[in-house]
Symmetry: C2
């Protein structure tokens, strides 16, 4: 879920990782060296490369030189696009949050009935888990790695999970649960657990297991105003 070229018309699905073939880019310069590129293009490529590398290898394991190589920009350009590695890490997490939430929302939006909307969450997870470069949740990983030493990273991770929790709360309320907060929390546990289990290969078919569990909890919690489904 990392690399996408600048010209992708996404179909609301989790895109697969394409290798770093940045041959023909939007820059017209046909230099054999690193082409002279536009400022916005540089920012895009840097964030793209950083996202792919940070996610794949962990944040501390990736050096700025490595990002420079993958992005195909100069170190000077890198630092005038993002003034520090910390800033780049924050941009990485923010961008990741936006893409992930958008993808989740699109999946959920396709379903109308509350039950189907909950199912869609885990369908999204199943699709995500199937991507070639899947390596768990960027925010759980970043939080575990830098949470205690970097308040911004901890805040970004909490904000991401808060957004997820809020969406699940909406779904739980739509489903007419007697205690929407309780159901939302339980769905959150299933989502987080599925992500972790998928990343570590612990459970078999974690998304499907989580989905069936969610449906069971949904049925158990359906005690007030079941608005269809």
């Amino acid at each position: 879920m990392a690399t996408q070229s600048a010209d992708t018309t996404r179909r609301g699905s989790v895109d697969t990782h394409s290798a770093d073939t940045h041959n023909a880019d939007t820059c017209g310069a046909d230099t054999t060296r690193r082409g002279r590129i536009d400022g916005d293009e540089a920012r895009r490529r840097i964030l793209d490369a950083a996202e792919r590398l940070f996610y794949a290898q962990g944040i501390q394991a990736v050096g700025m030189d490595q990002i420079r190589d993958a992005a195909g920009v100069s170190l000077k350009r890198l630092y005038q696009s993002y003034p520090s590695k910390d800033a780049l890490v924050e941009a990485y997490l923010e961008h990741r949050d936006r893409r992930w939430m958008r993808s989740l929302d699109e999946h959920v939006a396709h379903a109308a009935a509350p039950r189907d909307r909950v199912t869609a969450v885990f369908g999204f997870l199943a699709e995500w888990f199937g991507t070639a470069d899947f390596r768990g949740c960027s925010f759980i990983n970043a939080f575990g790695e830098l949470g205690p030493t970097s308040p911004p990273v901890a805040a970004a991770a909490r904000a991401h999970k808060s957004g997820l929790r809020e969406r699940l709360g909406t779904l739980a309320a739509e489903a007419g649960a007697a205690d929407p907060d309780a159901l939302a929390d339980q769905l959150l546990l299933l989502v987080e657990g599925a992500i972790v289990a998928a990343a570590m290969g612990t459970a078999t078919g974690p998304a499907e297991r989580a989905r069936s569990a969610a449906l069971a909890l949904l049925s158990a919690a359906r005690q007030s105003a079941p608005s269809g489904g």
Copy 2:
């Protein structure tokens, strides 16, 4: 992030848990400096300090000097006890696995009925989450931080989760689930999710939420040989 966070994570900023609390009995000499200590005592203190620091701050964020200070041993002693940081990390994970599993087993062993044994798992989690220094699962954290770059760490994390999954499988079978593997996976998702949610403060009362969800799943899955409980 190196230059900035260097100030916040200063050496010796850990608590006053120093050498003098241990060496009163095993080492008779009351030296004012670091006492001359036994080899086994050194190993114990080193592993103790490493466990506390690695867990609290992350593995890469803790230097060997910091471990030396916290353990109250010399660097020479440190390296002749554990030949490298990698070895110390492995020992840390192994020790933590043993302690955690033992604590879980003890909690579960106190209950006889299958339902109570499942409940005991989440009672154990609740107790753990309430500890002052709780910071999530060492293995999830280590896996997220070093999984892609350190095969031993990845293997240790997978082994830990495999052990947990096996125990949950036993509980699921004892509970007479129609599909014990499915229930075990679902319980695993709840446990992992609760740990992550507790670490990040996402859900309210994650252990209790997970326990009620587990009981609901247990009831839903109880379709063969309900061995009275």
